[in-house]
Amino acid sequence: MSHTPQPSALKMGIPIPNSKLGLWLFLGTEIMFFTAFIGSYIVLRMGSPGWPTDYDDTHISVGAGFINTCVLILSSYFVVVAHEAMAQKNFKKANMYLWGTMILAFVFLGIKGYEYRGKIVHDILPGRIAETPTAAIKKASRELEKVVRKRFEQYTDRGVVVTTQPTNIVEIVNLIQALPDSKPPEGIDAELFSDFQKTAPIDVDLYKKWMDLHQHIVANVSLKLPADTAAYLASRESLKEGEKPPVLEFDEVKAYIAELKKNPDYGADVTKAVNELHPMVYGNIFASCYFLMTGFHAIHVIVGMILFGVVLKQGSGLNEKWTDFVENSGLYWHFVDLVWIFLFPLLYIIDFT
């Protein structure tokens, strides 16, 4: 036959299997799904007065995107060869190429995971990016407070420090400060208590460092001036009328946090919890768009892998009844590749200025 078969007078409809038609209808909806996000990204980026583009801000590596593009194109090619093999009833070849596709899908997810890790390590997540230097400073202070509270929790959880107000950090620090001079409460092991007596001065020191920073932030006064009330008021004596004390600077807070991270006792905790101070204006909308598009694409990749998994599970039992399934899985996979073909230039390359 060299012509497209026309439906007979008795049979209406188009000459493709129902499953293929169903899948194409589904792909139609999926295209609308992705164009919603991609269209929104384009429109938001065009309308935004600015957008982070430096690698230092976004940590978007064009090389990783390029490798992912090649991986997906190769996997699409493998799927098409596998489908051809199924039509020729060469099921062993089809199996082999489908395994190739599956492995490449894992490679794609691996590279994507590496890219996501890079973002998470720098706290480039929607809603968590400080957009101004002041926001970055306040965020660092909040993160430092979390470290202090977590370390204090050790005392209250073990019953070493007994308090009716577990969230009142001022009361807890006073109790911890008094630890070296007090006796263990009832039911507390003496050795455990003496361990905590040793760590008490360290945690009080960290608290004081955080409170120092916090008070400077609240008063918006440079770290060069002391936080201690009497000394601070004395330093203001020398000011002339209308003159203000120097304001808190971003660089000195950055240096202050860096010092804390070097401390041998609590440095590790601070390094883990306090992210680098890196304000990025328009960073949150960038992160939202990026994770929405790539996240949904990754979910679609996983769904494709499940489809291929069902076929590969047949193993040597793969027969001609599976031809349509393989063709439809292949169509879905080509769609996933198609979305990435558009995502790659839009996210990694283009600058909508």
């Binding site: 429109v43 007065p49 283009i350």
Partner: protein, 132 residues
């Protein structure tokens, strides 16, 4: 049994694959050589459309399918183009001064910060920043 009339149209899949890889390399090259943003945009999107047509026509076999493909893809295309076009006048274009905090309350602080903390993109070394 399904009708596979399009099996008679032999497609050289390897050739299409090579074309796709070459297009990918082209878009990577367009990024690396410095062109004006508009030129890069046009070139890179043209490459993306070429790749998309290759995948759709040959890998997805649409070239050999009947006219039903137009019926199917028409509503999709309408929405795909229509949505950004509909949103563009409100969100994409700016007729008025933006009142977002980034452009009003935070602008002076961010401009001052940027003035003192340039990245080394222009080849100048960034000012020595403390570690952290």
């Amino acid at each position: 049994m399904s009708d596979h009339s399009h099996d008679n149209h032999h497609v050289n899949y390897r050739l299409i694959f090579i074309v796709l890889v070459v297009c990918s390399i082209l878009s990577f090259v367009f990024d690396k050589i410095s062109l004006t943003p508009k030129v890069t945009l046009v070139l890179v999107l043209a490459v993306a459309c070429t790749k998309a047509m290759c995948v759709m026509m040959y890998f997805m076999h649409l070239k050999f399918e009947g006219n039903w493909k137009y019926v199917l893809l028409a509503p999709t295309t309408i929405l795909a183009i229509g949505l950004p076009v509909a949103l563009f006048p409100d969100i994409g274009a700016s007729y008025y001064t933006s009142i977002a905090p980034q452009t009003t309350t935070w602008k002076s602080e961010n401009d001052e910060f940027k003035a003192h903390h340039t990245t080394s993109m222009e080849g100048e070394p960034a000012p020595a920043e403390p570690q952290g």
